[in-house]
Amino acid sequence: MSRSSHHCGRFRPAALSRRQWLRTSGCGFGAVAAAALLDRDAARAGLAGVLPALHHPGKATSVIFLYMDGGVSQVDSFDPKPALEQHAGKDPHTLFKVDATQFNSIGTVLPSLWKFKPYGKSGIPVSDLFPHIGSVIDELAVIRSMTSEFPEHTNANYFLHTGSGLQGRPSMGAWTTYGLGSDNEELPGYMVINGGLIPPGGLDNFTNGFLPATFQGTVIQPNAMGLANMKPLEKSAEHQLAKLDLARRLDRRFSERTAAGGEASDALESAIANQELAFRMQTQVPGLLELSGESAATKRAYGLEAEYKPTQIFGTECLLARRMVERGVRFVELTCPAINADRWDQHGGLREGHANNARAVDQPIAALIRDLKDRGMLDSTLVVWSGEFGRTPFSQGSDGRDHNPQAFSMWMAGGGVKGGTVTGATDDFGYRVVEKKFMIHDLHATMLHLLGVDHTQLTYRFSGRNMRLTDVYGHVIRDVVA
């Protein structure tokens, strides 16, 4: 990628103005002065973030969030519970206090439908759903004690993404980009690759909320179409450029005239600069989506040639994620492909549904982690795998599992994470957390920590409050930090 290929030198990054930083960020003048002393912000090119300097050294510079929409069953994936076998078929009410669930059709204790076996040097057990992920287990820090506050998708999705169950709050990708900016001035800092299913709650899972719109997730599709309004309708680049040149010429006059001999308006100048960035994105984004330069071996590893179409889709998403991170995109989120119009949400048909979903994501995810490692990018790329909640250890109907926010498993890899570890524990049934209970805010605090950001110090003044991704909560999960 060449950053000097612009047709003239007029282009400059669009960012928050310095004044906006000072007004809205929590750091104020003192922090800016400190930044000048530390001279760390100078290292950051591209779209600038609000933080003049990292709060502490962080290994990760980018995040890839593998969003397991719908909720993977913990007792069928990363949290083996042999006790379920003994109690199979019993009424769970006789064993423990059962909370209300979405559908309240509470069946009997249902043991895992998959066998677990230990993988890697760490010997961490993984179910047969994820043999490929098992093969890279020593890179993973598995957390078995994550919880959510919401038993249904939409609020839980908002909660996972924004730290609030309500619609309209900024997503973690927006916060991250707001804090750290992007290392590529030709691409948005927060990109979402839409595998085919926008999660319940819609695009507001990726919103900038009250943060400036620069930080909203740009949703692209893992195919040639890519992004809305990215494709010029003119016959040639020159044709379009001629229009923009005229516009720019007229804009200069307008700027002078409205300033009337005084200073030009920030807003106006910034809008002019953005038009130039937009023009550049038109060429950058198609290049990003063009996979013909990838080797056959890479494509095969990611599953682009897999028989199963959803594996191809998710493989493409994973490969695009790597390409985005290579290009300096700060935060990439992947959503699940549509598998029979559904994702991990198996209220019924657990065996087939979970197997198909695993089939779609298992190989591509393992390939992504290996590829990142082979390219020396894993240390600086934090990979996070999580759903919005887990599933109940008892059945819903005969062959499904309902939502379980009381406990679920997730994992992180790369980016300064201590691989080959397991943190936290659930009770004998995998229903509730009994050790090291974490909440979504802790996950967010940890992600930011690994990026070198203190979650309590990344703030945005809104509605008279210094807002945070973690609100007034959140503790870094030290166990997973290398």
Partner: protein, 1035 residues
């Protein structure tokens, strides 16, 4: 020893009163004793036990919420010291685990269960028991000295009120002295100039007339100025030419559209519910049109506020003189524009969340207060208590949702009133005649007709939800419109039986009093969208009878009804947005075939009823006449004996020996037939077809419990309905019990003593006209908002606010005053020195250059292209959904150009917001947002560069400018400039355009001189002009 601050003490009591009242009696003495003898000496082994076992448990399971060190302890209870336990009466009674609330709650023994996220292991519970049994051993340490408690600042309303400007009533300030008084056109200018002069700055020169015309048109109507107006006003030598143009704009219907869009941001206006499937809010657009009309009619702002809060309750609603439609009630749609969940697992919590959104929006919209912050605790900074929040929440929980047939409700109310009068007349005239036919008992009947009391004593196993059998003493009739009349029908009401061929007609009397919907009301039709099925399977609007809300315990309800009726048990205010998966039992229909029957409704399969739920019932007539006598919660079928007289009379009348051909009977029947005909004539006046709108329906007043930490599962103390303590004190006249009290709420919001309401709206208007409010945080005047920049700005706001109120709350008048000021007429010139001194332009040394909102950008594109359809109001145009938008509940796409309608009329689907507008910062409608983000992102440029809508419109604009064949290119360019920029181009600009046209023609392979009207070439120019900043920035 005053361990806890006063307020936290109160909270402790509140906590303890939850469901464990009995506990307090035996323990009070013990606790008092313990407090009086704090110098207990504990054995070393006990202390060791505490340190080893108990302290870690307190830290692990309790401290997160119950520690002063962690800030604001839950319910005011902190467990940082032994004294904390003892001071909180009954929480831990030394030596008596079974009497200690602490033990009870960790055992999950009752309503209050701790820790809330899961029961502790049995051995942990035993440890707590053991600790209490041993007498709460705790070593004396510094934190136990009683001095560590000062960390928490007590919540003191009086102090907070005194400390913050927004609670102090606004006063008219004296005019500040200025040097260049000649600059000032009105008082606004005096304040602004005084500020500038004291800072040593000068106001920017006045903008040109043409610029002012463009600015005024785009800011006041959101549409570009008509070039003819620009020319006329610019060349008008009269100094009042601009004022007259402002009047013209204020009289334009597009002014109301513009102001309405601003208000819709505040009202978090949406037409769907968001959440997973984005179900519709049927007919929400009626509220949008209500707002447009209100601004266009310059409805006084106090009335505008009142009708949104309580337009259903205003004594004399505004009635459209032509159509008879009730214009006031539609404003109450305000309350229901938020999000909603289709199948919430916890409906009580769901109700609390919906009410939270409504209370929060109410507070921000009208008062500029973040009331939502006081949902879980006293506001951290403002003079708003936790009780204040629930006092207002109670008014909403006392009300419910409906679709109101607003076009016919007033006319039909009159019909219903006449029917009741006719029925009374029928009683008066027929009962004596009937009496004559049945002998001595008949005389009693006349006397007893109104005496319909159910004589059985109340059954303790029953909870009566509604009883319509008691004549004047019945449950008051609450209904969504007129169908159920103003009063119930008493027992003994004469009834003319249908004619049977060849037989004389007969009469009977009603055996039991009841609420009644005449058959005509089952023939009503709504012209509008209905609520989604299954609720909307019946065309309910106008047919609903609503019982009071009552807390019931067992989940079985009996309905004594007659006829074909939809029965909807509304539990915790939950209205289904669709069918299932939960709460199917809440909705049923019954058809009793003209007989009285008790219908059983079992709600137990959908919910746990251990702690009861608040329920009201809505009956909607499906077909024919429908009657409801009683609604009772009971596990067994209620037993009733009806009043004996009507029954006995009916037995006589039905007896085969009764002579219907007797003179007396013939006379009675003849009279009845005549009365029935008169009644039919009244019924014929009923208006059957109406549009409907979402609106609020009043109910009986119920007070709310404070919900601890906002959780519906954790009830605190009752907080009676009232207005904010900081404004009206604690002692307020009792709120009505027969009504939610929203009328009283509106009264308090608009009372002269309320320091907020007029300031908030004046500031909003200022914000819209200058791009920044005098108080920049338009929705938050509290401590966390940003105050006015200086005392002069505050004085200006206060002066305008007082005058606004005193001069009749006219928004148009305020707008005109601001827009015609010298301040508003300044140019955008940015003097370097002034910018250096005041970079944010807080003092207004120039008029700020502003980007148009997305709606105005899009509308302007349509206006210049000639595609704009200027129709005002009506149903929304389906949103255009691009291939890049996806998700559940995805609608079919609307037209790319939105049918040419203004952006205001694009359907606001929460999960599919218009992508063009979103790129330009249209807010996601989740809470009041009076101040939008104004961002600059590449997506905006990409939209104007590549959105097919824009290129399509550019092409239409080109066609429009090529229409007149005779014009030279220069004239066409001039015309496009006039359309878009309200000016003609400079020589240089004209030359640049001509040069561009020639070059682009070359790109298209033509020579401009040969084909001067080549459309694609002119489309390129149009597209380039749309992409200039001058197109989207208002100078």
């Amino acid at each position: 020893m005053d361990i806890l601050p006063r307020r936290n003490r109160a909270s402790c009591c509140r906590l303890i009163s939850v469901g464990v009242v009995a506990l307090m009696v035996p323990t009070a003495a013990a606790a008092a004793e313990a407090v009086l003898t704090p110098a207990v000496v504990h054995q070393a082994a006990d202390l060791e036990f505490f340190e080893a076992k108990v302290r870690p448990l307190l830290a692990q399971h309790c401290a997160e919420c119950h520690s002063r060190q962690a800030g604001d302890p839950e319910g005011g209870l902190s467990f940082d010291s032994r004294s904390d336990f003892l001071a909180a009466e009954g929480v831990a009674v030394a030596g008596k685990p079974d009497d200690s609330l602490l033990v009870k709650v960790v055992r999950y023994d009752g309503e209050l269960q701790m820790p809330p996220d899961g029961k502790l292991q049995p051995e942990v519970i035993q440890t707590f028991e053991e600790w209490v049994r041993r007498g709460l051993p705790w070593p004396a340490d510094r934190t136990d000295s009683g001095t560590a408690t000062t960390a928490v600042e007590p919540f003191d309303i009086a102090k907070r009120k005194a400390d913050h400007w927004c609670w102090h009533p606004p006063q008219v300030a004296s005019m500040p002295p200025v040097q260049h008084a000649a600059w000032c056109r009105n008082d606004i200018d005096r304040f602004v100039l005084a500020r500038l002069e004291s800072a040593g700055l000068e106001p920017a020169a006045e903008a040109s007339r043409a610029t002012l015309v463009r600015r005024a048109a785009e800011i006041l109507t959101g549409l570009p100025a008509d070039p003819a107006d620009v020319e006329r006003v610019a060349s008008d030598a009269d100094s009042s030419g601009f004022e007259r143009y402002v009047d013209q704009l204020l009289a334009s219907p597009h002014y109301g559209e513009r102001l309405a869009r601003h208000w819709l941001d505040v009202a978090r206006y949406g037409e769907t519910r968001g959440h997973e499937f984005d179900y519709p809010i049927p007919n929400a657009w009626q509220y949008r049109d209500w707002v447009v009309k209100a601004f266009n009619a310059d409805l006084p702002y106090d009335q505008f506020v009142r009708e949104q809060i309580a337009g259903d309750l205003v004594e004399r609603p505004r009635v459209d003189p032509q159509t008879g439609a009730n214009a006031s009630v539609v404003g109450t749609g305000f309350w229901f524009l938020g999000e909603a969940v289709h199948s919430p697992v916890d409906i009580a919590q769901d109700e609390a969340d919906r009410v939270d959104n409504a209370v929060d929006t109410f507070g921000k919209a009208f008062l500029g207060l973040a009331l939502g912050c006081a949902r879980c605790h006293d506001h951290k900074f403002d003079a708003i208590s936790n009780e204040d929040y629930y006092a207002i929440a109670g008014m909403l929980m006392s009300s419910s949702y409906r679709q109101v047939p607003f076009e016919t409700v007033e006319a039909n109310r009159e019909v219903a009133r006449r029917l009741v009068a006719a029925d009374a007349e029928a009683r008066d005239r027929l009962l004596p005649l009937l009496a004559a036919t049945v002998g001595p008992e008949g005389d009693q009947l006349v006397a007893a007709a109104a005496d319909t009391a159910n004589t059985l004593p109340p059954d303790p196993r029953e909870t009566v939800i509604a009883d319509y059998t008691r004549g004047a003493g019945s449950t008051p009739i609450m209904a969504d419109a007129a169908a159920w009349g103003p009063t119930p029908v008493p027992a003994g009401q004469p009834v003319l039986l249908p004619a049977v061929e060849g037989l004389p007609r007969e009469l009977r009397v009603e055996p039991v009093g009841h609420a009644q919907s005449d058959a005509v009301w089952s023939a009503t039709r709504s012209k509008s969208e209905r609520d989604p099925a299954p609720l909307g399977d019946v065309d309910r609007a106008g047919r609903v009878l609503r019982t009071p809300k009552v807390l019931i315990k067992d989940g079985v309800i009996w309905h004594r009804v007659r006829g074909h009726v939809q029965i909807f048990a509304v539990v915790d205010g939950n209205v289904p947005l669709s069918g299932g998966p939960l709460y199917g039992s809440h909705l049923m229909t019954a058809n009793t075939g003209g007989q009285w029957q008790w219908i059983r409704q079992d709600l137990r399969r959908d919910l746990v009823w251990d702690n009861g739920h608040v329920v009201h019932v809505e009956y909607a007539a499906v077909a024919g006449a429908v009657a409801v006598a009683e609604t009772v919660a009971a596990t067994e079928e209620p037993r009733r004996s009806d009043p004996p007289l009507p029954a006995s009379i009916n037995r006589r009348l039905a007896d085969s020996g009764f002579d219907w051909n007797s003179a007396a009977a013939t006379r009675a029947v003849a009279e009845a037939v005549q009365l029935a005909a008169a009644r039919d004539a009244i019924v014929a006046d009923a208006r059957l077809e109406s549009a409907t709108a979402p609106a609020i329906l009043d109910g009986n007043g119920i007070d709310q419990y404070v919900l601890l930490k906002g959780s519906a599962a954790r009830r605190g103390e009752l907080s009676p309905r009232r207005f904010l303590e900081a404004i009206d004190g604690v002692e307020q006249p009792a709120w009505p019990t027969q009504s939610s009290g929203r009328t009283e709420l509106a009264d308090r919001v608009l009372a002269p003593g309320n320091p907020l309401t007029s300031r908030v709206i004046v500031n909003r208007i200022w914000h819209h006209l200058f791009g920044r409010g005098l108080v920049p945080t338009t929705d938050n005047f509290g401590k966390l908002g940003e105050p006015a920049a200086d005392p002069q700005a505050q004085a200006l706001l206060d002066t305008l606010a007082v005058r606004f109120r005193e001069e009749g709350w006219s928004v148009k008048r305020l707008v005109k005053e601001i827009v015609t000021s010298s301040t508003w007429r300044m140019s955008t010139a940015r003097d370097a020195q002034a910018v250096e001194r005041d970079p944010l332009n807080l003092l207004l040394h120039h008029y700020p250059l502003r980007r148009l909102e997305g709606e105005a950008v899009r509308d302007k594109i349509l206006a210049v292209s000639g595609r704009l359809d200027r129709t005002v109001g009506g149903p929304s145009v389906e949103v255009y959904v691009s291939p890049f938008q996806d998700g559940r509940g995805k609608p079919g796409s609307g037209p790319l150009d939105g049918a040419g309608r203004r952006s205001l009329y694009t359907k606001i689907r929460r999960n599919f917001l218009p992508s063009f507008l979103l790129a330009f910062d249209m807010p996601v409608p989740f809470q009041a947002m009076g101040r939008r983000n104004v961002t600059n992102v590449p997506a905006q440029a990409l939209t104007l560069m590549n959105d097919p809508f824009v290129t399509e419109q550019a092409s239409l604009w080109a066609k429009e400018s090529l229409r007149d064949e005779s014009l030279p290119p220069e004239a066409r360019i001039d015309s496009m400039y006039r359309d878009a920029f309200a000016r003609v181009p400079t020589e240089e600009e004209r030359a640049a355009a001509l040069e561009f046209l020639a070059a682009q023609a070359g790109q298209h392979g033509v020579i401009l001189a040969n084909e001067p009207r080549h459309e694609a070439t002119w489309t390129d120019l149009a597209h380039a002009l749309i992409n200039t900043k001058e197109f989207i920035f208002v100078p």
